[in-house]
Amino acid sequence: MEVIIALIAGILVGTLLGRALSNKEKNLLTSIVSKTTLFLTYALVFVIGLRISQILPDIITRGQQVVLVVIAFSTIPAVLSLAISYLTLRS
């Protein structure tokens, strides 16, 4: 629920600011938001690494199975999306 509230609040504030600010101010704000997003993404990627270090021995023990699961999760949804898009747009 918090995730949805944060997203909607962001969109509302962004829309209101987009209307209230001049183009120059809007560009400046967009640049600041872009840099902030970049910083937060880097911070979260570091934290994910930190969290995963707790279960690294477990991942290593699982070995091949983990590799298989990661490959499946990265390829199957992408390939199916591509196939369904092709069929949808062709029709």
């Binding site: 609040a9 962004g14 993404t41 991942i59 999306s81 898009s85």
Partner: protein, 199 residues
């Protein structure tokens, strides 16, 4: 939004987090993780709100193509999650669906699922970052044969990190459709992933 992200830099940061965790036993509290994630979501919403006029000014035809692609990407990704569960049997169906519903947004999916279980976070992060990598590698080849359908491959990343590749290979029209596709998926992913994982 995240054009400056480089896969190598992300890999280094991820490795730095792993090494720091192993070497120092440093732990990050749930509140800090959750607050940072909510700040990221708010910032993404803010940048979408600032660009809302850009989307509204796009032609109806391109919006319609973008919406069809969104539906197809969503259906394909969720079906993929269900297929993986049927084939491998792990993790639980709701988490399999949540991981595949990340559609390339690794920082959100990885962090959100890591707050439930670090192993799920690992799967959510790695499989979604790989989806972005596949898009970089295969889009130029696929776009020649499949045209706009190949935008689906990039999922949510088509509004930022993979947009330059799509626009340079597929042209400005593909770029506009990719932006609409990525923007709406970015809006939907937090809602779908959190709904699926919390059921």
């Amino acid at each position: 939004m995240l054009k400056k992200l480089e896969s190598s830099r992300l890999a280094l940061l991820f490795a730095a987090g792993l090494i720091t965790g192993l070497a120092t036993n440093l732990r990050v509290g749930e509140e800090i993780l959750w607050t940072t994630l909510l700040c990221l979501i708010f910032a993404v919403g803010l940048s979408m709100g600032l660009e809302i006029n850009k989307i509204a000014s796009m032609s109806r035809e391109k919006i319609s193509w973008g919406l069809k692609l969104i539906l197809a990407t969503l259906t394909g990704s969720l079906t993929g999650g269900a297929v993986i569960y049927l084939l491998i049997g792990e993790p639980a169906l709701k988490y399999s669906l949540a991981i595949s519903a990340g559609m390339g947004w690794y920082s959100f999916t990885g962090t959100y699922l890591a707050s439930i279980d670090p192993y799920l976070g690992f799967l959510g992060y790695l499989s979604n970052i790989l989806r972005e990598v596949y898009t970089y590698i295969t889009y130029p080849l696929l776009a020649k044969k499949l045209r706009y359908s190949s935008i689906s491959l990039g999922g949510a990343t088509t509004m930022d990190t993979t947009l330059p590749v799509i626009a340079s290979v597929g042209g400005s029209e593909a770029g506009i459709i990719a932006f609409i596709h990525g923007a709406f998926l970015t809006l939907l992913i937090p809602i779908i992933v959190s709904a699926l994982a919390s059921t």
